[in-house]
C-alpha cells in the first residue's frame, strides 16, 4: 500500500504543484490520478519514487517512510513506465528489458528467461528481442517499456501516461492487455492519465485532481460517474456519464426472445421477416440480411455487419448498444463462448435499466464522498 500523508510540493519558483495530498493506493489495485493538464499528477507520481522530493508531508510504502530509504534502492523496487517509453536506443529490446535485473544482480540465465517470458507476455515474440528501439513502432516501444518495468518483478508500479502517445486503437489494445496482465500480477499501481475514459477503464479507484494540486474526489469509477462531488468533477467526468456508467452495471436477467436464424449458404427465400440473423456452424452470429433483397443463397458479402454483439454476462452498456446498433432493432446477445442466446429490444433494455438499482449513496450529506 502506498500512502500519501499531507504531501505538498512547492517548486523553487513558488508554484504549488501538489497541495496537502492525502491518499491511499491499496495493495494489488490500480489507483488512477486524473485531471487537467498541470494539476500535479506527474509531480505526485514522481514523489513516490523520489524523482521529486516532497516539500512537506510523507509518503510511505507498506508502512515505511520512503524519505528514509536510499533513493536508488527505493527505485529498484518500483517499476516505472513513462509516456515516451524512454528506452535506451543503444540497447536491444532484450537488453532494455534486462536492465533492472542486472542492476540488482539477478543471475544471467534467470534474467534472460524472465525477459523473454515478459516480452511474450506483452505481445512481442522472440523476433523482437534482438531489435533496437528505433526499429519499433510507438506502441511496440511502449510494450517494451512495460516489460522493462516489470522485469525485476517489483510489487509497485508507477505509470505516467503510458499509453497516451499511441493512436486510439492501439491504446485500447494496450489497455486491455495491461488489464489482463494485472489480473495475473496484482501489482500495486499508480497510473496517471489526463483522459477520463482511460481513468474509468483502468482504475479500481480514481482520484480526480484539480489545478493547484488539490484532490477533488477519490472514488470507484462507477461511483464517480454517478456522484461527482462538485461542478468541476461533473464537468471533467464529461457529458455521457449516464451512458458510460452503464459499463459498470452487470446486465440483469433480460427477457431474451429466441431468434430464427439461417446459416451462411442457405437460402433466405422462405423467411417471413424484414431481417434475419445469419450464424455460422457453431451458432455464432455473423450478421443480418434482408431476405426480400436476396435471391438464392446468403453469401458473406451480403451481410449487414453494423450491429454489435453483447455478452449476456457483460455490462448493460454493451447490451443497450447491441440493441441500438442492430438494423432489426433486435440486439444480439451471446453466451461466453460466443454462441447466440437470443435477442433483446431497446425498450426492454431501458426497462431493465429503470428497474436496476442505482449505486448507493453512502452519505446523503456529501453524496460525492469516497465509497468507504
Amino acid at each position: 500500500m502506498i500512502v500519501f500523508d499531507g504531501v505538498t510540493k512547492k517548486y523553487p519558483d513558488g508554484t504549488v504543484a501538489v497541495h496537502d495530498l492525502t491518499l491511499e493506493a491499496p495493495t494489488g489495485k490500480i489507483t488512477v490520478l486524473v485531471g487537467p493538464s498541470g494539476c500535479g499528477k506527474t509531480t505526485s507520481l514522481r514523489m513516490v519514487n523520489r524523482m521529486i522530493e516532497p516539500s512537506s508531508g510523507t509518503i510511505s510504502l507498506d508502512g515505511k517512510d520512503t524519505g528514509r530509504m536510499k533513493a536508488s534502492e527505493l527505485r529498484r523496487g518500483i517499476g516505472y513506465v513513462i509516456q515516451h517509453a524512454g528506452l535506451f536506443p543503444n540497447r536491444t529490446v532484450l537488453d532494455n528489458v534486462e536492465t533492472v535485473p542486472r542492476l540488482v544482480g539477478m543471475g544471467k540465465k534467470e534474467t534472460r528467461d524472465r525477459a523473454m517470458q515478459l516480452l511474450e507476455q506483452v505481445g512481442l515474440g522472440a523476433d523482437y528481442a534482438k531489435r533496437y528501439p528505433s526499429q519499433l513502432s510507438g506502441g511496440q516501444q511502449q510494450r517494451v517499456g512495460v516489460a522493462r518495468a516489470l522485469a525485476a518483478d517489483p510489487p509497485v508500479m508507477l505509470m505516467d501516461e503510458p499509453f497516451s502517445a499511441v493512436d486510439p486503437v492501439v491504446r485500447d489494445q494496450l489497455q486491455d492487455e495491461f488489464l489482463r496482465l494485472q489480473d495475473d500480477l496484482g501489482k500495486t499501481i499508480i497510473f496517471v492519465t489526463h483522459d477520463i475514459d482511460e481513468a474509468i477503464k483502468m482504475g479500481d479507484q480514481v482520484a480526480v485532481m484539480r489545478v493547484g494540486g488539490y484532490l477533488a474526489q477519490l472514488a470507484e469509477p462507477a461511483y464517480l460517474l454517478a456522484h461527482p462531488v462538485d461542478d468541476f468533477v461533473a464537468d471533467f467526468v464529461g457529458r455521457d456519464r449516464g451512458y458510460r456508467g452503464l459499463s459498470f452495471q452487470a446486465a440483469p436477467r433480460l427477457p431474451l426472445a429466441s431468434e430464427r436464424t439461417i446459416t451462411l449458404g442457405e437460402s433466405a427465400r422462405d423467411v417471413d421477416d424484414d431481417w434475419v440473423l445469419v450464424v455460422d456452424g457453431d451458432n455464432h452470429p455473423l450478421g443480418w440480411v434482408e431476405p426480400r433483397r436476396i435471391d438464392g443463397e446468403v453469401t458473406s458479402e451480403r451481410l449487414h455487419r453494423g450491429g454489435t454483439v453483447a455478452r449476456a454476462s457483460g455490462p448493460l452498456r454493451a447490451v443497450l448498444d447491441a440493441a441500438l446498433s442492430s438494423p432489426s432493432r433486435r440486439g444480439v446477445v451471446v453466451d461466453d463462448s460466443g454462441a447466440l442466446v437470443g435477442t433483446v429490444r431497446p425498450h426492454e433494455v431501458l426497462t431493465a435499466i429503470e428497474e436496476a438499482e442505482r449505486p448507493v449513496v453512502e452519505n446523503p450529506d456529501n453524496p460525492g464522498a469516497p465509497a468507504a
Binding site: S72, R75, I82, F88, P89, N90, V100, L103, R131
Partner: protein
C-alpha cells in the same frame, strides 16, 4: 609542376634514411597522437561532466570558444619563448617539441569537449529519466546510458580534432621540430616547390587515411541501434511505421560538424 611533384614523391632518396617521408610521417603521427591523447584526457571528462550535470556549461563553452580563437602560430612562439629557458639543460629538441605539443593539444580540446558535452546533453531526456527512475546512480546513468548514446558525437568531435591536429602539426617545423612540416619549411627555404607541394599532399593524404581509420573504428564502437546499421534478421521484420531518424544519424559521420554553440543538437538531429 605536377610532374615534378610526382617526381619528388617517387624519388627513392626521399623514402629512406633519417628525414625521409616515412620517418617524418611517423614523427608527425607521434606528435599528433600525444597531443590528441592529452587533449582527450582533459576534454572528454570535462565534456561528460558538463553534459551530465548541466553545470559549468557556460564556462566550458566560452573557454572552448576562446581557445578556438587563439592563433596557433602566435601561441607557438609564445610557448617557445616561455619554455625555452626551462629546457635549456635537456636535449635540444624538447625545447621545440613540447611547445608544439601544447599548441596542438589546445587546438584539439574545443572540438573534443564540444563533442562530449553535446553528445551527453543530446541523450533523449526520457531515456535518462527512465534510467534514473529505475534506480541507476548518477555514475551508472553516465556509464550505461549517456556515454554509449553520446558515442556518435564523441567520435565526431574527436575526428574533427584529429584532422585539425594533423594539419596543424606542420607548424612544429617552424620552430625547428620534425614532422611533415619539415618539407614545407625546408622546401620554402631553398625554393624547392615540388618538395613543398609533395609534403602538403602527404599531410592531406595522412589526414584522410587516419580519418578513414577512425571511421572504421567508430562503426564497431557505436551501437547499431544508434547508427541504423542492422543485422539482416532485424531488417527482415522491420515493416511497421518506424521513423528514419536512426539511419540519418548513422550516416552523419562527417567529423567537422560539431558546433559548440548549438545546444539543440542531438544525436538524432545531426545533419547528414
Amino acid at each position: 609542376m605536377i610532374a615534378s611533384t610526382w617526381q619528388w614523391l617517387t624519388d627513392p632518396v626521399n623514402w629512406s634514411g633519417p628525414g625521409s617521408i616515412p620517418n617524418q610521417i611517423l614523427t608527425h603521427l607521434w606528435y599528433s597522437a600525444i597531443a590528441l591523447f592529452v587533449a582527450s584526457l582533459i576534454a572528454i571528462p570535462a565534456g561528460l561532466a558538463i553534459g551530465h550535470t548541466g553545470r559549468g556549461r557556460f564556462f566550458g563553452v566560452n573557454l572552448a570558444a576562446a581557445a578556438r580563437a587563439i592563433p596557433s602560430l602566435g601561441l607557438l612562439f609564445l610557448m617557445v619563448l616561455w619554455l625555452f629557458p626551462k629546457f635549456s639543460g635537456s636535449s635540444g629538441s624538447a625545447a621545440f617539441v613540447v611547445p608544439s605539443l601544447i599548441v596542438l593539444a589546445v587546438l584539439a580540446i574545443p572540438p573534443i569537449l564540444a563533442g562530449a558535452y553535446a553528445g551527453v546533453e543530446g541523450v533523449d531526456p526520457a531515456a535518462r529519466d527512465a534510467a534514473k527512475g529505475m534506480g541507476m546512480t548518477g555514475m551508472q546513468v553516465l556509464r550505461r546510458v549517456e556515454i554509449p548514446n553520446a558515442m556518435p558525437l564523441i567520435f565526431s568531435g574527436f575526428r574533427s580534432a584529429t584532422l585539425q591536429v594533423i594539419a596543424t602539426a606542420t607548424l612544429a617545423a617552424v620552430v625547428g621540430a620534425d614532422g611533415l612540416g619539415r618539407f614545407l619549411i625546408d622546401g620554402q627555404k631553398i625554393r624547392d616547390y615540388p618538395q613543398m607541394a609533395g609534403g602538403s599532399l602527404v599531410v592531406a593524404i595522412l589526414a584522410l587515411v587516419v580519418d578513414l581509420l577512425l571511421g572504421t573504428i567508430q562503426r564497431y564502437a557505436v551501437s547499431p541501434g544508434l547508427t541504423g546499421r542492422r543485422t539482416s534478421a532485424s531488417r527482415r521484420g522491420r515493416s511497421d511505421g518506424v521513423s528514419g531518424s536512426a539511419e540519418s544519424a548513422g550516416r552523419s559521420n562527417t567529423p567537422l560538424d560539431v558546433e559548440i554553440s548549438d545546444p539543440r543538437r542531438t544525436v538524432d538531429s545531426q545533419p547528414s
